[in-house]
């Protein structure tokens, strides 16, 4: 059954790329995506998650591993749910957003790699040994590279693609080392609990760091996030939605899986992970506030959310080493619930940004404004996503952050983490009030090209479904509790499954539902009454009060940059905003230009200079690169001989 679901998602979907230019081919792709995802959903629904995993294997002829084994357990199921949801909706959205007819040169490529990405992500979660895992991991990374570089005729897109490729391979390098060392400890590549006796404490620490760094590159932990903003901003919007909503979660999945297998016994590991999460969250959202590009802003906000998830995992690990079941349950439960929530609202926001970009042909927020009038439905959907991502009740972001808060309040000194999370929440609110206000409210700052309007049904309905998911999980968070509970107990003890207390003991979610219903009912009733009252008394409509100034223009509105200016200033020590401030000299100054920008400090301050220097130093090695096949073969032969003799020397 699982093999069937898997075969369809992985095998069937890319097959449709064989078709040519026609729109029909693209439709066929989407139909296959939907069928594959639905089959996957059926598979998930039919499996009952006890503590043991469902495993399946096929004989396989690779030198190191004789079986291609896949399996599904509660942790895997948690991560498969977004994999079977977001790409499906994204591909329907793509029918209207990335129409084959409009993009003849790359439409087919996007279709192919989109399916490949979805299928390989499903396999990443299902893989039960390291070799298969690495193969599908690379497949996923490369598919994402080609998707992010869809418009490779633009220099900016190519550059972002290269940065992504380098970063993802730096991560894979860590994973290679990780799996090689794990094989040394356990004697095989199968994913199984490592025996604490076979490992020195130093080795456990090394494995822990390797898995956090290796998977942190994919998830986007600070300071390993350098590829993320560029790649997300330059990919087509439905691809950004999948990358941010699902692919980053594969990094989280790897971290959750590996930490569950490692016999970590020292408390500082969990504390460190918690601290990394807090720093990632605060800096991620601070960078987001400084952005003027709508998709870069959303990408940085993904980093923030990964930080929140990482805080939850860190707390769960802390709970495991301190034998505090409540911390494990609330930490991991909150983190995994946030994985779902983020995949819902961030995909919604990225798809929405696509609709906005279609309408105004720009990603620059400081040029937008007033779109709520011509695009009321888009504005509504965006508002739902924005409220949810700020973690405000009654939507789903609150439920997961609430669980993490409760855990942080219960831990020994983790209370400081709760304050950090509160700061993240307040900054996120500033960030999303800014984006919603600048895009949808006020009036257009630059004259619009054409007439913006709500997108077609193919783009609207996927967004509406994601928004519905935000509402449902916000009002009824306990729907997810059984699966999250199973995943947490399996994480605590992968072999047998540990007995954890129920969520209800620490987190009475039915109260959240009650308050959510009360809030919406009371506010809705009040709004209806007020509307009636205003209609009855004939409200006068006039211009916005300009404090006596008679001729205000849209350009006088507060812009996104000015809105975030004080906060960017408060975080100036790390954001390092670059402004070119022209000097005004004469009484009637000439026309001057002002520009301000927040670049990525890690990328532009550290990574690129180091790489540039390394490139300069490596110029000497250019001699080796002659472009002659015989020479290259000679190099290979020499290296092979050296390696073989080294191996013999070591006695392998």
């Amino acid at each position: 059954m699982f093999a069937a679901a898997l075969a369809l998602v992985a095998g069937g979907v890319p097959a449709c790329c064989l078709s040519r230019h026609s729109v029909r081919a693209q439709r066929a792709t989407s139909v296959l995506m939907v069928l594959g995802s639905l089959l996957g959903w059926c598979g998930l629904a039919m499996a009952s998650f006890g503590t043991s995993a469902v495993e399946a294997g096929l004989p396989w002829h690779l030198p190191w591993e004789q079986r291609l084994s896949i399996g599904l357990d509660a942790i895997g199921a948690v991560f498969l749910i977004p994999v079977f949801t977001v790409p499906m909706l994204g591909s329907i959205y793509g029918l209207a957003y990335w129409r084959q007819g409009d993009h003849p040169e790359n439409g087919r490529g996007v279709g192919l790699f989109y399916g490949l990405l979805a299928g390989s992500m499903a396999l990443v979660v299902l893989a039960r040994n390291a070799i298969l895992f690495l193969i599908v991991w690379e497949l996923m990374a490369l598919a994402a590279f080609f998707l992010a570089g869809a418009e490779h005729e633009k220099a900016e897109v190519r550059r972002a693609g290269w940065i992504y490729l380098v970063a993802t391979h730096a991560g894979t390098l860590c994973l290679l080392a990780l799996f090689a060392l794990m094989r040394q400890a356990s004697g095989g590549f199968a994913f199984g609990v490592l025996d604490a006796g076979a490992l020195t404490p130093g080795m456990v620490t090394l494995l822990f760091i390797l898995s956090v760094v290796g998977f942190g590159f994919k998830a986007g932990l600070m300071p390993l996030h350098v590829w993320l903003p560029g790649a997300h901003a330059n990919a087509p919007s439905h691809v950004s939605a999948v990358m941010s909503g699902v692919m980053l979660k594969m990094g989280v999945y790897g971290m959750v899986r590996m930490i569950s297998l490692l016999p970590i016994s020292e408390a500082w590991n969990g504390g460190a992970l918690l601290a990394v999460g807090a720093v990632t969250g605060i800096l991620g959202i601070a960078f987001a506030i400084g952005q003027n590009d709508i998709k870069r802003l959303l990408a940085y906000s993904s980093i923030e959310n990964i930080g929140i998830i990482c805080m939850g995992i860190g707390m769960a690990l802390l709970g495991r080493t301190l034998h505090r079941a409540d911390l494990v349950l609330l930490g991991l439960g909150g983190a995994l619930l946030h994985v779902w929530n983020h995949s819902l609202f961030k995909s919604l926001l990225f798809l929405n940004s696509g609709a906005i970009i279609h309408a105004v042909h720009s990603r620059e927020m400081n040029r937008m404004g007033g779109l709520a009038k011509p695009m009321p439905q888009t504005a509504w959907l965006f508002l739902i996503g924005a409220v949810a991502i700020c973690g405000l009740p009654p939507l789903n972001g609150f439920a997961s952050e609430w669980l993490i808060y409760l855990g942080l309040f219960q831990g020994p000194t983790t209370g400081v983490g709760a304050v950090a999370l509160a700061l993240i929440g307040a900054l996120a609110l500033a960030c999303f009030v800014k984006i919603y206000g600048m895009v949808f409210l006020g009036t257009a700052r630059d004259p619009l090209h054409g007439e913006p309007h709500d997108p077609s049904a193919a783009m609207r309905h996927p967004m509406a479904l994601l928004a519905a998911g935000c509402v449902v999980l916000g009002f009824l968070p306990h729907l997810g509790f059984p699966l999250l509970h199973a995943a947490a107990s399996q994480w605590l003890d992968p072999a047998g499954g540990a007995a954890l207390p129920e969520f209800e003991e620490f987190a009475p979610a039915q109260w959240i539902s009650a308050v959510a219903v009360g809030l919406v009912a009371a506010a809705g009733l009040g709004y209806a009454l007020l509307r009636r009252r205003i209609r009855r008394t004939d409200a006068a409509v006039g211009a916005t009060w300009g404090c006596g100034y008679a001729q205000p223009t849209p350009r006088m509105q507060y812009t996104g940059s000015s809105f975030g200016d004080v906060l960017v200033g408060l975080f100036g020590w790390v954001l390092r905003p670059r402004t070119s401030r022209p000097a005004l000299k004469k009484l009637f100054p000439d026309r001057v230009e002002f520009a301000c920008e927040v670049q990525d400090t890690v990328l532009h301050g550290l990574v690129l200079p180091v790489f540039r220097r390394a490139a300069a130093a490596m110029m000497k090695l250019r001699r080796l690169q002659q472009g002659r096949l015989d020479l290259y073969l000679l190099y290979l032969l020499v290296i092979l001989i050296v390696l073989l003799s080294w191996g013999r020397h070591l006695g392998l």
Partner: protein, 301 residues
């Protein structure tokens, strides 16, 4: 019965606090000042007026005052008054309390941006910016109280000072009280953070955000703001004057007197201090964070 009194006090008393503050300020200035019940008259007057709505606005502009008022009132249901229990109380409601206040902030600032006025944009930007500093104050304070009470329900947690034992507890509570008082001033846009009476839009925070609201909309906003003062005042009172006599009547009387005392204290601060420069406000808020953080460290050590 106590629940009923809670609701009545929460809904009826807040405008009186504004009257007390204004009367105190008038006394300091040697004026007679407006009558104590002036805020009620204002609200009734505003409720009867018609509305002027800006051409640029959307439904957010009308919805924001209602949503803000609702969420603040909801938050008020979670906070116990005096020694009595809160109408709604469950484990983890302290986080709901903080986030309900944030819901109000989201919609108020969004409505300000809805008008497209640069002044209101400024107000909104300041509001969300200073909230980033006041949120940690609240959470550090809640952490201290949660640690002392061992509970995560506001109903129990805020009663922690009633039976705080050791000296460490008292010291922490004093520090938290200072922090919470600054929070009260900042969240309710009082001097020294904001000046509700100034006539220069450039220098205001809360009042400038609501420049374009008129009639019943403005009434709802003013009423919501006064409830917020009442609710945060109630939180502060738990730390400042934990008191329980056992007689319900006496306890309610003491609570009302204490609440009026808070209003007088705010009035005294407003009369004796000048508003801080806008760029100095973060220093005050960071100082408040550090007061509460000290309180936390004292408990954890």
């Amino acid at each position: 019965m106590n629940m009923f009194i809670h609701l009545v006090l929460m809904l009826a008393m807040p405008p009186l606090l504004l009257g007390v503050i204004n009367k105190t300020k008038a006394l300091f200035a040697g004026r007679k000042g407006p009558p104590l019940l002036q805020s009620y008259y204002d609200l009734i007057k505003l409720a009867r007026k018609s509305v002027v709505i800006s051409r640029t606005t959307t439904w957010i502009f009308i919805a924001a005052p209602v949503v803000t008022l609702t969420s603040i009132a909801m938050a008020g249901l979670l906070v116990p008054l005096g020694p009595f229990g809160a109408p709604v109380s469950f484990t983890g409601d302290l986080i709901l309390f903080a986030y309900l206040l944030a819901v109000g902030r989201f919609f108020t600032t969004a409505a300000a941006l809805d008008t497209g006025s640069s002044f209101e944009g400024m107000g909104a930007a300041r509001e969300v910016t200073f909230a980033c500093l006041s949120e940690p104050i609240l959470f550090f304070a809640l952490l201290v109280l949660a640690r002392i009470s061992g509970s995560l329900a506001l109903g129990d947690l805020l009663h922690a000072p009633l039976d705080a034992g050791g000296q460490g507890d008292i010291a922490s509570l004093v520090l938290v009280a200072i922090g919470l008082f600054i929070l009260l001033l900042a969240e309710n846009s009082r001097i020294p953070v904001d000046d509700p009476n100034t006539h220069l839009e450039l220098t205001m925070i809360h009042e400038v955000m609501v420049l374009d609201h008129s009639g019943p909309l403005l009434g709802l906003i003013l009423y919501g703001a006064s409830i917020k003062l009442f609710v945060i005042g109630a939180v502060l009172l738990h730390v400042l004057f934990p008191f329980q006599s056992g007689s319900a009547l006496l306890d309610w009387g003491v609570f009302v007197a204490e609440m009026l005392g808070v209003a007088v204290a705010v009035g005294v601060v407003e009369s004796t201090m000048a508003r801080l420069q806008m760029r100095h406000v973060p220093y005050l808020l960071i100082a408040a964070i550090l007061f509460c953080a000290f309180g936390f460290v004292l408990l954890v050590r």
